[in-house]
């Protein structure tokens, strides 16, 4: 590897920046096919009920309506949209259209019409009669033995435990045990683009589906399972995407849209409005966690016992996977010899849980980091000092025997962050006396790098240099706006030492992209796919050097590849551009200047981060202003500094929402109350604090150029840091997120200020 890097570490702009800012990029809803029809879904407006009767006569009579579909016309096949690869064992409980609605937003019917307005109007004309059932909204209620059943089985989905050491014994020996119960809400991903899909059928009956998705092979698999057809008859093409954050991970519209096109033998486009996206897709899973942390006099954690209730909503999807993901993270952040994590999952009559940036990490770390700060408070210790005593060190082993932590640099994050934030002085400064009171808080977090250790994690890539000097990297890449493709371009440009503008990385297409086991999820792309891109580029480089040596009759060692040209070290006249060499390889040796590799992920190191927040609380109204936020991240190596900062800024915005305002709420009958952005408040630009980003770049050996993930972990520490700051400011203990002004006032009144 060269000493100085040319492309890796630079802030290369995202490849489609110009198309985006000039409005030229075609998002799914901009796509039009000849003869295309428009679909519109009817989602249930009750939380729980059996459909007794659907009368679509009026809708069908509306001029322009082509068809109306309900559970009576749809396949009975059940599927679980969380499944992304064959062989995964899942509970299948979802259908294209349901005969029993299990939450406000469940899919009842679809209208297909010649234009969208007609489809929308027709949806309003469908009459549905329900046999109403009691709605179970509270996950604790759902566990009661006599609770109304949401599916055939009881509402309890599973109960699982992870444990190391002996928690009971260690608890008995502890000098102090601090217990907290923390609730985290259902959250909407709030991607700018709502869910959308377009499907077409060819004369042979093969389906082509365009979708802004995260995993093309998952969409293919779910469509195949839902429709009962071979996956190979379904081609899925990833379209441009206007944000996902996990929300477009599980296929929601894909099987429905494919079904509509298949039935009508015409292209059909299906787009959701905001209310449908909020209620009828996926949400961040609601959790209720109870933590007991046992410490000794010196502030060493002796044991911890975590119990989490996971609210999966109306269908199973990843209800167990998210619980396990949460549990595993709890063992990777602190050195805790005796720890137990117990999780139970439960159905409720609420919108479905799914993947959401951080996949459980924001929830588990909100629960545990609020508790840890409280523990430090009770010990009378500086929360930073307390954490520094207990955090993991580089190359620690996972106490559960899971993948090793790798070059874990959380201690550096906390030390450097505390210094940069001036933590000590701010934490111990005398409290403000007036109406507005400031406080500071911090939190740490951990997240993974792929699926190694849990699920198959490999990707096949094909990299070839053409005679025109361009390099094409084919793989199932899904850029979600984070810069995936550009990151790959940087890695290839760096490894081959060639002009980055001559590298082309197309997006995923099941027909032409080589197979990838897991798609853009689990924070695996930079670490796993980037590792694969680097290896593919190395192999191509070696191959080109071998052929160049043959061509120039010299040793391979004498072949230098540099700046897009090949030269022989002691023969100044022997030089070729990469394109010229590629042409020679093709013509003279009947081979290509390319390689196809299958890359198995070498590990699953942990990415770490710490957030430091300062807030100001209005003690009269409970309103909070976040004054400053410092995010420190152990990223191994930032392949693209601009992207990393962008990820952190956006992730903090989501974390602030989780802390302060974002929550899907229900009335007593389970009807969603937050069906638009007027009622569901994300943090908007004027309320964003100044965010400072500090990167710890100590290189993770197993990652490409030392890189590891940041996109998900960056949203994890924000909410607990802000909650801890509020608690610090006014001396309360927030136990339910988001900390709305109302909840803060409630706590302050109890405390008696």
């Amino acid at each position: 590897m060269r000493e100085s890097l040319k492309y890796v570490g630079a802030s290369v702009p995202i490849h489609d920046a110009e198309q985006k800012v000039t409005g030229k990029l075609r998002y799914l809803d901009d796509m039009v096919l000849p003869d295309m029809l428009h679909g519109k879904l009817l989602l249930s407006n009750v939380a729980h009920g059996n459909i007794k009767r659907i009368d679509a006569a009026k809708a069908k009579a509306l001029p322009g309506v082509v068809a109306v579909f309900t559970h009576m016309d749809a396949p009975v096949n059940r599927y679980n949209s969380h499944k992304w690869i064959d062989g995964m064992e899942v509970v299948k409980d979802e259908r294209i259209f349901t005969e029993k609605v299990r939450f406000y937003g469940d899919r009842v019917a679809a209208v297909v019409a010649v234009d969208r307005q007609t489809a929308e109007r027709a949806v309003g004309l469908i009459e549905v009669e329900y046999e109403m059932l009691p709605a179970v909204i509270d996950p604790v209620e759902a566990l009661r033995p006599n609770a109304e059943r949401i599916h055939e089985n009881v509402n309890l989905l599973y109960r699982k435990t992870l444990e190391c050491g002996n928690v009971e014994t260690a608890m008995q020996a502890a000098c102090r045990i601090v217990e907290d119960r923390v609730e985290t809400p259902k959250i909407h991903h709030a991607a700018m683009e709502t869910h959308a899909c377009l499907a077409d059928v060819d004369p042979a009956g093969n389906l082509t589906v365009w979708t802004p998705c995260q995993v093309i092979f998952q969409a293919q698999l779910i469509i195949a399972e839902a429709l009962g057809i071979p996956g190979s008859k379904v081609r899925v093409i990833k379209s441009a995407i206007g944000g996902s954050f996990g929300g477009k991970g599980q296929p929601v519209l894909e099987p429905v849209c494919a079904f509509l096109a298949q039935k009508l033998n015409r292209p059909v486009k299906l787009v959701m409005d905001r209310g449908q996206a909020i209620a009828g897709t996926r949400t961040r899973t609601k959790t209720i966690g109870t933590v007991r942390t046992a410490v000794d006099h010196n502030g060493m954690i002796m044991a911890r016992d975590i119990d989490v209730l996971v609210d999966a909503g109306g269908y199973f999807t990843n209800g167990d996977a998210v619980a396990m993901a949460m549990g595993k993270k709890a063992f990777k952040l602190y050195r805790i010899e005796n720890q137990r994590y117990t999780a139970a999952g439960v159905y409720t009559n609420t919108p479905i849980g799914g993947a959401a940036r951080g996949y459980g990490s924001p929830q588990i770390h909100a629960i545990t980091e609020i508790n840890l700060e409280n523990t430090a408070r009770q010990l009378g210790m500086d929360p930073v000092e307390f954490r520094l005593k207990n955090l993991v060190h580089p190359y620690d082993k996972d106490p559960l025997g899971g993948p090793e932590l790798g070059n874990a640099r959380i201690l550096d994050c906390v030390r450097q962050g505390a210094a940069a934030f001036n933590w000590k002085e701010r934490y111990f400064r005398p409290k403000d006396q007036g109406r507005y009171v400031r406080g500071v808080g911090m939190a740490c977090c951990a997240h993974g790098n792929g699926y190694y250790g849990a699920y198959p994690d490999f990707i096949t890539l094909s990299l070839r240099i053409a005679a025109d000097g361009f390099a094409i990297l084919k793989g199932a890449f899904h850029d979600l706006g984070c810069g995936t493709n550009t990151t790959m371009m940087q890695i290839v440009a760096e490894t081959l030492d060639m002009d980055i503008s001559k590298i082309y990385v197309p997006e995923a297409d099941t027909l032409v992209s080589p197979f990838d086991s897991a798609g853009t999820q689990a924070s695996r792309v930079t670490y796993v796919c980037g590792g694969a891109a680097m290896q593919a580029a190395q192999k191509v480089r070696e191959k080109m050097r071998r052929y160049a040596a043959r061509y120039f009759s010299c040793d391979v060692e004498a072949v230098v590849m540099e700046n897009g040209r090949v030269r022989i070290s002691d023969k100044p006249s022997a030089t070729l551009s990469y394109g010229e060499l590629a042409a020679i390889i093709q013509k003279t040796y009947s081979d290509e200047a390319g390689e196809t590799i299958t890359y198995q992920s070498p590990g699953n190191p942990t990415s770490y981060g710490a957030n430091f927040a300062e807030v100001e609380v209005d003690t009269v109204t409970g309103r909070v202003k976040v004054l400053e936020l410092l995010a420190v991240h152990d990223v191994g190596k930032a392949i693209n500094k601009g992207f990393v900062e962008g990820q952190v800024q956006g992730a903090v915005q989501m974390g602030l929402g989780m802390a302060l305002s974002e929550e899907i709420t229900f009335d007593t009958q389970g009807r969603v109350q937050t069906m638009n952005f007027g009622k569901y408040h994300v943090i908007n630009a004027p309320d964003m604090p100044e965010i400072k980003v500090l990167l710890v770049e100590e290189l993770e050996e197993s990652g490409p150029y030392g890189a590891k993930s940041v996109g998900e972990v960056a949203t994890v520490a924000t909410a607990p840091a802000v909650i801890n700051a509020i608690n610090h400011a006014v001396g309360i203990n927030i136990d339910k997120l988001p900390a709305t002004p109302e909840r803060i006032m409630e706590k302050m009144k109890v405390r008696g200020r």
Partner: protein, 297 residues
């Protein structure tokens, strides 16, 4: 065949003509930030739209005969930026500046806000506190004037007839030392912009010559009842009382009592009580401790 007919009068005369045959299915369109949403929600696909935004003659802010006059085709953006309004009708300029986002303010008109008659509308309390009147044109070409409490009478209810349009607002221009201000909070959110009022307040005070005693006050609470109302007890707390903590506390207490009475024990609205206290302290601060923005200078 269903159709929406669109008319865009270019003069007040043409407007009166358009209003003449207005019926149940005629809609006046200003910025459309309420109307378009409403039409879509109700599934209205037929009728007549009279576009008020091409009426250049109704786009003005001027002071005439001791009155501030604001044409109905003036956007909140223009109202919020107008120097004279910021000086003589501070509370209105402040309310305008807090309506929606910049994009909304660039197109939303105060006439639309008043005619929409939402209890959460931000300009209505400010106009009421300023004792403003709306000039209303009918299909016969006649103009009448109504005060805010004669115009806005219930949730989404007003006394405008189908053939009537608001054409301007008249605000008496204070000739004495006065100050005014506006404040609002949204529901269950820390948001400071793009919020629909969960509680809001507008206050106008007239000070004596020395600028210490309040000679008279008009305080209006909005978003707490079906229509914004004068908080008389709070007005009294301010009037003729010496400056100091006692006056501040009496003012905030009175505001809270008003709100408590307005919400009729409804749990969902309880946080308006803390909200009005917060607004009360801030409003008081702006009225008394900052430099006067009004005629005292």
């Amino acid at each position: 065949m269903e159709q929406l007919v669109y008319e865009s009068p270019r003069s007040v005369h043409e407007l009166a003509y358009c209003l003449r045959n207005a019926d149940q299915n005629t809609y006046l369109l200003s910025g459309g930030t309420d109307l378009v949403i409403k039409l879509r929600k109700l599934g209205v696909h037929a009728g007549r739209i009279i576009d008020m935004t091409r009426l250049e003659a109704l786009n003005y802010i001027k002071i005439e005969d001791g009155c501030i006059r604001i044409g109905a085709n003036t956007t909140f953006a223009d109202i919020s930026r107008n120097e004279e309004l910021r000086r003589y009708a501070t509370c209105l300029a402040e309310a305008a500046a807090q309506v929606g986002s910049q994009q909304i303010r660039n197109t939303a008109r105060m006439a639309g806000n008043v005619a929409n008659s939402s209890p959460r509308g931000d300009s209505i309390p400010a106009l009421l506190a300023l004792d403003a009147k709306a000039g209303i044109l009918n299909g016969k070409g006649e103009i009448t004037y109504k005060k805010m409490d004669e115009l806005v009478v219930g949730i989404g209810k007003n006394t405008l007839q189908k053939d009537e349009a608001i054409v301007e607002f008249l605000i008496p221009c204070p000739d004495e030392s006065h100050r005014s201000t506006f404040g609002k909070f949204g529901r269950e959110s820390h948001r400071t912009s793009v919020v629909i009022s969960h509680i809001n307040i507008a206050a106008v005070i007239i000070l004596d010559k020395q600028g210490t005693l309040v000679k008279s006050a008009r305080v209006v609470i909005g978003s707490a009842a079906p229509v914004p109302y004068r908080a008389e007890a709070a007005e009294k707390a301010l009037t003729d009382n010496a400056a100091g903590l006692a006056r501040l506390n009496a003012f905030v207490d009175a505001l809270q009592k008003h709100v408590i009475e307005s919400i009729h024990g409804n749990k969902r609205y309880e946080n308006k009580i803390d909200g009005i206290a917060g607004l009360g302290y801030s409003v008081y601060d702006r009225l008394f401790t900052s430099q006067p923005a009004g005629g005292a200078e």
